[in-house]
């Protein structure tokens, strides 16, 4: 039982990392007032870009992850242009971008010959001597580099959002764009920057899925994780550390699924595969029923800002 638990907990961070990074990216853009429904699409772009880079370079997973971030950021420019400058309905634009990315990635993946080709990917790094500690060593100190980096990334983003002028302006744009505009903050520029920076994080999450986790690209590899991340942000009341907690929760559920089958417990496997989605819905219902943190929602989330339009 201890062995099972340790294995399960040690497997959790690598399932949690994509949720955590994607949710963090979403928080950045939603705090600036842009509902980034395109997350699922940006994850796919990051996942394909990562695998393609690694296949073309013949290795270098860290460069692959950087390219994944860059690719997602570039594609998000399209979304940002639509919602920030053209004031397209954010739901329509987000959905269109998701399906644009779905189509684009499966097309480019096939035309480039990158589909279904295994890569070496990134391996876990044991931090010796900490990794030799009983139980804790295996759970915390034999992870891959991205998992280790996730914690400093969270510190950094949380600090920038809550303790810096940049973060203050970014949040002001999401809470009250008219006031921000009146005090001279460029609403469009901040929203553009927030979407692009957030999408780079979402792209990293996607790249992590394909380069580190699965070590393969297949169309639709993200399997709804982008949508789960969006729900996670609502659950986390738009706060980074709560999002990390939620990501660990979902990572834990997902890490449990293959282990239950491996432990010889007979449960219908397709019902097990439903659990992350059902758990997400359950969490959303819980947040709504208890009115948990509704007032934390950025006040101008999803609303376009046009200076000439007075309300």
């Amino acid at each position: 039982m201890l062995h099972f638990t340790v294995n399960w907990l040690a497997g959790t961070p690598s399932f949690a990392a994509p949720y955590a990074l994607a949710a963090l990216g979403l928080i950045v853009s939603e705090r600036a007032g842009v509902l980034s429904l395109g997350a699922e699409g940006f994850m796919l772009v990051g996942a394909l870009a990562g695998v393609a880079t690694e296949l073309e370079l013949g290795g270098y997973p860290s460069i692959a992850l950087l390219v994944a971030m860059l690719a997602a950021a570039v594609v998000s420019l399209l979304f940002a242009f639509l919602v920030v400058f053209l004031r397209v309905n954010q739901v329509i634009a987000g959905l269109a971008v998701v399906f644009f990315c779905h189509g684009l990635t499966s097309l480019v993946g096939t035309l480039g010959g990158w589909t279904n080709r295994a890569i070496t990917g990134m391996h876990a790094v044991a931090i010796w001597p900490l990794s030799e500690m009983p139980i804790v060593g295996k759970i915390l100190f034999t992870q891959d580099v991205v998992v280790y980096l996730t914690i400093p990334i969270f510190f950094l983003v949380n600090y920038v959002l809550t303790r810096s002028m940049l973060g203050l302006r970014l949040r002001s744009v999401g809470e009250n764009p008219e006031a921000a505009d009146a005090s001279g903050v460029s609403v469009s520029l901040y929203r553009l920057g927030a979407v692009v920076a957030g999408s780079a994080l979402i792209g990293l999450a996607g790249g992590y899925l394909s380069v580190v986790d699965v070590k393969l690209w297949v169309p639709g590899i993200s399997g709804g994780r982008g949508w789960i991340a969006i729900a996670l942000v609502i659950f986390a009341r738009w706060q980074p550390w709560r999002a990390l907690f939620g990501a660990l929760l979902f990572g834990g559920i997902e890490a449990l699924i293959p282990r239950i089958a491996a432990a010889g417990i007979q449960l219908p496997q397709y019902f097990l595969l439903m659990t992350p989605y059902l758990a997400t819905i359950a969490v959303m219902v819980w947040a709504a029923v208890t009115k948990f943190g509704r007032s934390n929602e950025p006040a101008a989330l999803g609303q376009p800002h046009i200076r000439e339009e007075r309300r």
């Binding site: 639509l82 644009f100 189509g103 097309l107 002001s172 921000a180 709804g224 729900a231 709504a288």
Partner: protein
């Protein structure tokens, strides 16, 4: 440009924004909201947007290896000169009309039904259950299958609907996630109890002859006739009834609707339930007319097509029917491109997304007047 920022950023009294320098600007774009725009100008902008979207799509196809000279042939000549192709377009149009009208009904009350694929899965399961368990005599088999499909689809949408109406849970995410749940349940059936015993493939046993939607001759399938009947009914409902007027009210200004006593919850409920039923019927139509059994992937891609159709048709069922037929042309051409040029079917999805993006972007010009201010 921005002044030196290092000290300002940390100081507590720093102004929210630093001053910008002057003199380097040429001017800026100024936006003005338009109160009104003539329908002709709107149509012109829409046409331009479609041309731009199709142009980008054509460029992509050429980049993917289709000869420019063959484009026109593939999409226009082949499809409308060959009766065989015309037949497959009309065949393909039936489920697309169903999902398009379904999305239109839901979007009319601002219910973002992204669960069309999940409802299609349940429609297929409901219809197949009637066939699998031999419910009812042969003569009433088709109506029973339709009824079960519609009920299954309504049951599947009622969860996110109730959560949205009662608790204000975001229906976009719930409907979407339920698609994955429905898909896993479909796999559970197809790899388990409903596995075809004849060939052990993960699809249900073949429907019997009286469980399949018949051809009516002249290349018209009864599936298309059903789709047209439901379109007409939906069109009548939203254009000529009090209920339809209420949906418009809820869509345009729900606070006003509440103030004057429109039963918002009820209107949302009925409209969304109809949407779920119509999506489910799309699943039924594919199972009973195209495949003749329940398969693993019959619903793929219809969810977004439904959204696209409703969006381009401005949530009008009759217009949705027309758009659905055009999307059917795209589907059929996409399949032939797949066969002759090895271009993945994902291209069809990409083209649809590009068209939505260009049309959505063009609405900017309809809503705003753009000035260059010096």
């Amino acid at each position: 440009m921005l002044n030196n920022t290092v000290s300002a950023a940390t100081s507590a009294q720093a102004p929210l924004v630093k001053r910008t320098g002057h003199g380097w600007r040429l001017g800026r774009l100024n936006l003005e909201l338009r109160q009104h725009m003539s329908p002709w100008l709107q149509a012109l902008i829409l046409a331009c947007a479609l041309v731009v979207g199709l142009g980008i799509s054509a460029a992509l196809l050429i980049a993917a290896g289709v000869k420019p000279s063959a484009l026109f042939d593939e999409f226009i000549v082949e499809n409308f000169s060959d009766p065989e192709n015309l037949h497959s377009i009309l065949f393909q149009a039936a489920p697309l009309i169903f999902v398009g009208v379904s999305a239109a009904l839901a979007f009319r009350v601002r219910f973002w039904n992204l669960g069309i694929e999940g409802q299609m899965i349940w429609g297929g399961i409901g219809a197949t259950a009637v066939s699998f368990y031999d419910i009812g005599p042969a003569a009433t088999r088709i109506p029973l299958m339709m009824l079960f499909a519609a009920l299954a689809g309504m049951a599947w949408i009622i969860v996110p609907l109730w959560l949205r109406v009662r608790w204000r849970v975001n229906e976009i995410i719930v409907t979407l996630l339920l698609n994955y749940v429905a898909f896993n349940f479909l796999l559970h059936l197809l790899y388990g109890a409903w596995l075809d015993p004849k060939d052990n493939f993960p699809h249900s046993p073949q429907f019997r002859a009286f469980e399949r939607l018949p051809e009516l001759g002249f290349g018209v399938s009864s599936a298309l006739v059903l789709a047209l009947i439901f379109t007409a009914l939906s069109g009548w409902l939203v254009m000529f009834t009090r209920f339809g007027f209420y949906t418009k009210f809820v869509h345009d200004n729900d606070r006003m609707a509440l103030a004057v006593g429109v039963p918002i919850g009820l209107v949302t409920l009925v409209s969304a339930l109809l949407s779920g039923a119509l999506s489910a019927l799309a699943g039924f139509v594919i199972a009973a007319a195209q495949e003749g059994r329940l398969t693993q992937s019959y619903f793929e891609g219809y969810g977004f097509s439904g959204i696209l159709i409703a969006f381009l048709a401005r949530n009008n069922p009759i217009a949705a029917m027309v758009v659905a037929i055009l999307v059917a042309v795209l589907f059929v051409s996409g399949r032939s491109l797949q066969v002759f040029y090895q271009i993945p079917f994902a291209m069809v999805q990409l083209i649809q997304a590009i068209i939505v993006i260009s049309v959505a972007a063009s609405e900017f010009l309809m809503r705003h007047r753009v000035h260059w201010v010096r």
